[in-house]
Amino acid sequence: MSTTLEAPIAEPLRRQGIRGVGGAQWLLISAVILVLLSFVRATTGATDLTSDGTIGAALTLAVPIGLAGLGGLFAERVGVVNIGLEGMMILGTWFGAYGGWQWGPWRGVAFGILGGALGGLLHAIVTVTFGVDHIISGVSINLLGAGLARYLSGVIFTGHSGGGATQSPPGKGAISTFDVPVLSGGWGSPDVLGSLEKHHWFLISDLAGILRGLTVGVSWLTLLAVLLVPATYLFFWRTKLGLRMRSVGESPLAAESLGVPVYRMKYIGVVVSGALAGLAGSFLVIVGANYYREGQTGGRGFIGLAAMIFGNWRPGGLAAGASLFGYADGLQLRQKSAVHGLLLFVALLLVLIAVRAVLRRQFVQALVAAAVAVAFALWFSLSTVVPSGIVSFTPHITTLLVLALASQRLRPPAADGVPYRKGEAG
C-alpha cells in the first residue's frame, strides 16, 4: 500500500531539489565565497573575516537560529504556521536553566526540550483541535511564554544566589567541548590548521581558519545540533512517516482520503517544532551563557523563521541561512571594523552576479545588481565603520529581500497556514 502511495507524490517534490541547486553548484558557490572573502581579507587587512575565532563564534550563534528554523520547518511542513517559536524558545531557556541549575547541563537540555514541547503541544491543541488561526495562537503563545518564564523566575529563582525575577542562578558545570584530532590538535595531535592559519597566506590560511573555527572547541551539543540538519532531511524525504507528514502540509484532504491520520501528523509536527525551539533555547542557556536571563532569546525565534524562509522550507537552505545570520553576528562581536570589509565583499559578489546575468542575457537583472554593487562600493569607500544598529537587522532585511526578489522561486508547503477540519474531504 505505502509503496504504491509513495512514488507519485514523492517524485515531483524530489525533482525540485534545493531551489534547483545541485551538490556541484553548492561547492562552486562555496568556493567563490571563499575566494572573495580571502581577497577582501587580504586587501582590507580585516583578519577576523576568516579567523577561527569568528567562525567559532558564528557557529555558536548560528546553532540556536538553525534549531529554531528547524522547529519552524517541522511545523510548517505539516501545514501549521508557528509564529510562537519565540515563546517556545523562551520556555526552552527557562526550563533549560532550571534543569541545568538543579542537576547539570544535559538534564538542562532535556528540560529545555520538554518546556518547548509543552509550548508546541499548546499550539497544536489550539490550532489543530480548536482550529484557531495559527498567527493568533502563535502571538498568544509568545505572550504566554514570556509571562510564564517571568512568573516562574519570580517564584523559583528569587532568593537563590545569582538568581532573581529576571535571572537564574548559574548552571552546574558545562557541556564539554572537543578539538578534532589531527586537524585542530585534539588528543595531543599537532594543530595543523592552526599553524597554517598563522601565516596569513592567501586562500590557504583563510580556508584553514574557517575549518579550524568549525573544529576547535566544539561543544558536543553543537555537534548534535548540526547533525539534526541532515537528520531532518533524511526524516522528511527518506522515511514513510516524513512523507506522510509532508503530505499533510501539502494537501490534507488528499492525505486524509488516503488514510493518513492528519491530526496526528500535525500534532507530531508541531510538538517536535516546539521541542526544537526548546532545544534552541536551552542551547542559548547551556552553551551560550550558563544562566537564564530575561530577553535572552532576543527575537532569535523570529530569525529562525527567517532562516527557514531564506532556505525555502528545506533543511539545507535553512542551515545556509542560519550560518549567514550567525556569521554576521559573530563578526560584529569579534571585530567591528571587519564588518566594514563585508561591504566590499557584498559589492564584489554583486559584480559577479551582474556578470553572470549578462552572460545569460538577463540585462535588467544585471543592471540592478551592478547598481547595487556600485552603491555598496561607494558605502565601503566613503565610510570607515558600519553602525551596529544596521548590522543587527542584516538577517531581517535579507529575508525581506529574498521574499521580495525571489518569491517566484520560493515554494512553501501548499496548505501552509490553511485551517483544516477532519472529515471535510467528504
Binding site: I83, V132, V139, L143, L144, Y151, G299, I397, L400, L403
Partner: protein, 399 residues
C-alpha cells in the same frame, strides 16, 4: 407554523442568543485566567482569594487596606496604561477586520515615537501647532513603515505577517542607529552616555486634564495626569466605529475580510484595500507611543515602554476588534498591570498578571472559535429545519 411562509430573515431572538454566546465565551475566558492566576498565587504559597481582594481594592482605591481613605491615583494610572493599549489595539483591529495581520505595530509605534521626539525638540512652533504637527509626523512615520509591508504584499505577494515581523527588527536597529547619530551630533556633554533624546520643550507636551477636572471640583491633586490623549483615543474610537461599521469603505473592508473573492467580484479592489487599510493601521500605530512621550516621559530613551504592539494584538482579540470591546479589554489590561503591583509588597510575585494576560487571550480565542462553530452548527440546523417547510407540500409528497 405549518403552511405559513417562513421569513428568510432570522428572528431577532436568535441574534440575542448569539450575543449571549459571545458573553459566555468572554466570561469563560476570564474565568479560566482567574483560575490560572489563582493557582499561580496558591503555588507561590499565598491565598488566592485574599490576593484578588487586595488587587481589586488597590485598583479601585489605591490603598492596600480599607482603613485609609481612597485616592484616585490607581484609576489615573490605569487610564494612563489603557490609552496606549487602546490605540495599539485599534491599529491591529482595523487590519483584522479585513483579515490582514499587522504584527508590526511594535516597530511602527517606536519609530514614530522617535520621529516625534526629535521633531518636538527640533521644531519650534506655538503649542497649538506643535502638538498637532508632532501627531501628524508620528502618524505619517507609522503609516510609511506599515506601507512598506503593504507594497511588498501587493506588488510581490509577500505575506504581511513575515514582512511586518522583519520590519519590527529593522525598526529597532534603525532606531539605535538614528539615536546614536542624532545624539552624537547633539550631545555637548561627552560624559552623558545615556541613550535618551533631550526633553521636549513645554510647547511639545500634551497637556493633561487634571487642571480642568480640579477646577470642576472632580479631582484632587495628583502626581500623575489624566492623559490628554484620552480625548484623542475617544475621538479615534468613535471615528473608527463610524468608518468601519457605517461607511462604504467599512463595508468594503469587512467584505474583503469575510470573503475576498466575493468582494473582488463586487468591484472592490483588494490591492487598494490592502494598501489603504495598512496605511490607516500604521498611522494609528504611530499614535501608540505618544501618550507616554508627550504626556509622561517627554523623551525617547532605552526605557521607552516595549511590547505595546504585541499586547495590542491581544487586546484587539479580546475586544473582538470593536471599539467598545477594545476599550473594555484595554482597561482590563491596565487594571491587571496596576493592581498586580500591590502583590509584591505582600510577598506575592506580581508577575502573575503577565500569566493572566497570556491565558486570557489564549482562552478567549479558543472560546470564540468554539462559539463560532456552535453558531455555524445552529445555522445549519436552522436551514435544515426551514428548507422542508419552505418547500411546503412538495417534500411531503416525496416523503
Amino acid at each position: 407554523m405549518t403552511g405559513a411562509p417562513m421569513p428568510v430573515r432570522k428572528p431577532r431572538s436568535v441574534d440575542l442568543a448569539g450575543l449571549g454566546y459571545n458573553v459566555a465565551a468572554l466570561v469563560l475566558a476570564i474565568g479560566v485566567a482567574v483560575v490560572i492566576g489563582g493557582l499561580a498565587v496558591e503555588l507561590s504559597g499565598h491565598n488566592a482569594i485574599s490576593a484578588y481582594r487586595l488587587m481589586l481594592r488597590y485598583a479601585a482605591c489605591n490603598q492596600a487596606d480599607s482603613s485609609t481613605p481612597c485616592t484616585a491615583d490607581s484609576v489615573i494610572d490605569i487610564i494612563n496604561r489603557a490609552v496606549p493599549y487602546y490605540l495599539s489595539a485599534l491599529a491591529v483591529a482595523i487590519g483584522f477586520r479585513m483579515a490582514l495581520f499587522n504584527i508590526g505595530v511594535e516597530g511602527q509605534y517606536r519609530l514614530a515615537a522617535v520621529a516625534a521626539a526629535i521633531a518636538g525638540v527640533e521644531i519650534h512652533l506655538p503649542a497649538v501647532l506643535q502638538v498637532p504637527l508632532m501627531i501628524i509626523i508620528a502618524m505619517a512615520v507609522g503609516a510609511i513603515w506599515a506601507g512598506i509591508a503593504a507594497v511588498l504584499k501587493v506588488t510581490r505577494g509577500v505575506s504581511e505577517v513575515i514582512s511586518t515581523i522583519m520590519l519590527n527588527y529593522i525598526a529597532l536597529g534603525l532606531i539605535s542607529f538614528i539615536l546614536s547619530s542624532y545624539l552624537s551630533g547633539n550631545n555637548t556633554d561627552s560624559n552623558n552616555l545615556s541613550i535618551a533624546t533631550p526633553d521636549l520643550p513645554s510647547a511639545s507636551q500634551m497637556p493633561g486634564f487634571n487642571r480642568l477636572l480640579h477646577d470642576l471640583g472632580l479631582l484632587g491633586s495628583h502626581p500623575d495626569q489624566v492623559p490628554g490623549f484620552l480625548l484623542v483615543a475617544a475621538i479615534i474610537g468613535t471615528v473608527f466605529y463610524f468608518v468601519v461599521e457605517r461607511s462604504r469603505f467599512g463595508f468594503d473592508l469587512r467584505a474583503s475580510g469575510l470573503n475576498p473573492f466575493a468582494a473582488q467580484a463586487g468591484g472592490v479592489s483588494s490591492a487598494r484595500m490592502i494598501v489603504i487599510t495598512m496605511l490607516i493601521s500604521g498611522a494609528l500605530a504611530g499614535l501608540v507611543g505618544l501618550p507616554y512621550l508627550m504626556g509622561q516621559a517627554y523623551s525617547y530613551s532605552s526605557e521607552f515602554p516595549a511590547n505595546l504592539g504585541f499586547n495590542g494584538i491581544a487586546v484587539a482579540l479580546l475586544g473582538r476588534n470593536k471599539p467598545i470591546g477594545i476599550a473594555f479589554a484595554a482597561v482590563l489590561w491596565g487594571f491587571l498591570e496596576r493592581s498586580a503591583q500591590i502583590l509584591d509588597l505582600n510577598g506575592i510575585p506580581q508577575e502573575i498578571y503577565v500569566l493572566m494576560q497570556g491565558s486570557i487571550v489564549l482562552a478567549v480565542v479558543v472560546a470564540y472559535e468554539i462559539v463560532r462553530r456552535a453558531k455555524v452548527r445552529r445555522a445549519e440546523r436552522e436551514v435544515a429545519r426551514q428548507v422542508p417547510e419552505a418547500l411546503g407540500g412538495a417534500v411531503e409528497v416525496t416523503a
